[in-house]
């Protein structure tokens, strides 16, 4: 009995170890020792100050989207469109940066507001399609993601192409006063981290301590009874999605205004999908989101370092995080895994028509 409770306590570590094992096996398949990879990952993220700042800079948009997704998941929504919301935020921020010239504080405020509005509207489209059109948010979100990517490519290749000619890479760098103030020579903007921390704080408060949070929870747990109790599902769903869209749009602005200095082709690069994984792994617990997001950022930055050192494809980081989330989803719940199934014979149904 004692052993059993001990196993129960340490169980959450088992799927994570399994994920590390699988990733190591894949590495060995490619004649790379897992130790090399580990060293590259650690040095790639903690090696020196610039590496740490890089991880933090990558973390900010991830944290912003994950905070928003906590809200949509609570409302029972699969906001796969989060990736597109990041991209639209980046486009809106770029638009302001390219077309408007104001003193720095006003310029940046306007850029961030435009990005949040763009993300919120893009998410609002998903919400509208769901509540009014009955289109599942997974499909509309996915289609809108692709449309956002295509829109970026269009903007870069035609109207916003740099004066020296159309490269498919990106727009010309924005003016100095349009960019977020950076920490030293890095791509990290302390202001953006503060904004991200405020965002996750707001989400925690909103979900735990407000009537709105309670309504969202009711919707997520049982939409029908929430409706019967007078929760307007349409209003809450639209609000939840637009809230997530606004935060993701802000993340997109951070991408163009600090990580890059212009609108690029793969401006998000899957951060939205990564945020979905973060929130799934956290089992929708807000306090777990920052540490998991930090860990994911370390893994992703580490695998980029590994790519630079050994030439191995950088998708290794995606494999590690993906396998980890999969195993935690499948095997993380000790209770569901080891409860014995009772075998019951089908009930004998009397067929009344024969009487």
């Amino acid at each position: 009995m004692k052993l059993r409770s001990w196993i129960k306590l340490t169980w959450p570590g088992v799927p994570i170890l399994m994920a590390l094992l699988v990733t190591s096996l894949i590495l060995i398949l490619f004649h790379t020792s897992p130790k090399t990879a580990l060293v590259a990952m650690v040095e790639g993220s903690f090696g020196d100050q610039s590496k740490v700042l890089q991880v933090l800079a990558f973390l900010v948009p991830l944290l912003l989207s994950a905070s928003g997704l906590l809200v949509t998941f609570t409302a029972g929504l699969w906001n796969i469109g989060v990736e597109g919301q990041i991209i639209i935020g980046a486009i809106m921020a770029s638009w302001v940066a390219l077309k408007i010239d104001l003193p720095t504080p006003f310029q940046i405020t306007l850029e961030l507001i435009a990005a949040m509005a763009g993300g919120a509207l893009w998410a609002g489209l998903v919400a509208l399609l769901k509540t009014r059109g009955g289109v599942n948010e997974i499909f509309s979100g996915l289609a809108l993601n692709n449309i956002a990517i295509i829109l970026t490519n269009y903007l870069i290749s035609s109207p916003w192409q740099p004066p020296e000619g159309g490269t498919f890479r990106g727009t010309q760098p924005f003016a100095e006063n349009a960019l977020l103030p950076l920490f030293g020579e890095s791509r990290f903007s302390p202001l953006s981290l503060v904004l991200a921390l405020i965002a996750i704080g707001m989400v925690v408060v909103a979900l735990r301590g407000t009537f709105w949070g309670l309504k969202l929870k009711a919707l997520g747990k049982n939409p029908k009874s929430a409706f019967l109790l007078g929760v307007s599902s349409e209003r809450e769903l639209v609000l939840a999605l637009m809230f997530c869209g606004a935060l993701s749009g802000l993340g997109g602005a951070v991408r163009v205004l600090s990580w890059f200095d212009s609108l690029r082709q793969s401006i998000s690069g899957g951060i939205g999908f990564l945020a979905l994984l973060v929130v799934m792994l956290s089992a929708f617990q807000a306090y777990l989101v920052p540490p998991i997001a930090l860990f994911f950022s370390i893994v992703l930055m580490g695998s980029t370092t590994l790519h630079l050192r050994t030439g191995l494809h950088p998708s290794l980081g995606g494999i590690l995080t993906g396998v980890m989330v999969l195993f935690v989803l499948l095997f993380g719940d000790y209770g569901k895994l080891f409860t014995r199934r009772r075998k019951i014979n089908p009930p004998i149904v009397q067929d009344s028509s024969h009487e």
């Binding site: 059109g133 993906g322 095997f331």
Partner: protein
């Protein structure tokens, strides 16, 4: 070559281009008819395309390539089925993680095999039949993948709607309690058809890398799995309607290419958005209340055929887990 021959050639290439999609739609239709959603299609097809290509290349045997791809598809389907049936976890969550994982795994495992020439499926016209005017060049002067896809459409339809096991399958997706009371092993049935469907999706992936879009590169079939999932809905969970949907999708893409040539002033990238706009539009028509209002606004005699044509309804217990205890 005259205009007519040109048109015929375009149409026959649409048929070829659509056949992997048709296979994937058939597979997912079978799985979803049994009540299980396998959302991992996009990742499954990528990984299967990569596996099929490498196995085909290394063994120089196409059949082994397709077989390996089918096994990959079945393996992913098994994870979804096991996770949702035995471990009672969310099908959508597992499917989504597998989508991302399949994409990353295919990029990593296939990294040394990008952009190289490999084996491919040869064209194989059927004698006599291929000489039928119009229909011949469209459907009987193709390769074995195309024939297999169209045979699967008919076979799936016949199995689902005209056989006893097919009735059982649909019963499990519609009213699992009733099927269970009748002595059907609900979850066993769901496992079986998840595997069958997954196998077909795997073959569809390899049909791209070994036939329709030769070779392997990162993100080779990215997005097509999601298109297939949307077509299953558009097709109202019927393989024949689904196949028509896949052909229409292929046709729209071909049309876009033609339009692009006619209107060179419109940016090329704008045409890339067509499939995705179409996806939203089509789902909107199939599921929106507005369509219902439109139908009711029409003359009475038109309503029934219009509803049959425009509206779809999902299997009642799609995505709902069934506990046998």
């Amino acid at each position: 070559m005259n205009e007519f021959d040109q048109l015929l050639k375009t149409l026959s290439s649409i048929v070829l281009q659509s056949s992997p999609l048709i296979l994937a739609v058939c597979g997912e239709t079978i799985t979803e008819r049994a009540g299980l959603i396998n959302l991992s299609l996009d990742g499954t097809m990528l990984l299967a395309a990569m596996t099929g290509f490498i196995v085909g290349l290394k063994t120089n045997n196409l059949m082994l390539g397709f077989l390996a791809a089918a096994i990959v598809g079945m393996f992913f389907a098994l994870i979804v089925a096991f996770g949702s049936i035995r471990l009672k976890q969310s099908q959508v969550a597992i499917g989504f993680v597998l989508t991302l994982l399949g994409d990353d795994l295919s990029a990593f495992l296939g990294q040394n095999f990008t952009r190289i020439r490999g084996p491919y499926v040869m064209k194989l016209g059927i004698p006599i039949l291929k000489d039928i005017p119009i229909l011949g060049p469209l459907f009987f002067d193709q390769d074995i993948v195309v024939y297999f896809a169209f045979i699967m459409v008919g076979l799936t339809w016949w199995f689902l709607f005209r056989t006893q096991p097919g009735l059982k399958l649909r019963g499990v997706g519609e009213r699992p309690e009733a099927a269970f009371a009748r002595g059907v092993k609900v979850n066993r049935v769901r496992y079986i058809y998840a595997l069958v469907g997954g196998g077909l999706v795997g073959i569809a992936g390899a049909a791209y890398s070994l036939d329709v879009k030769l070779g392997w590169s990162e993100g080779h079939t990215r997005g097509l799995g999601w298109i297939a999932l949307a077509i299953v809905i558009f097709g109202g969970w019927s393989p024949i309607r689904g196949a028509v949907g896949a052909l229409l999708f292929g046709g729209t893409k071909a049309l876009a290419t033609v339009l692009q040539r006619t209107f060179p002033q419109i940016s090329v990238v704008a045409f890339n958005a067509i499939p995705w706009v179409l996806m939203i539009a089509v789902l909107l028509v199939s599921t929106s209340d507005l369509t219902e209002r439109f139908i009711n606004w029409m003359p009475k005699t038109w309503r029934r055929p219009l509803r049959r044509f425009l509206r779809v309804s999902a299997p009642t217990s799609l995505g709902v887990p069934f506990g046998e205890d």
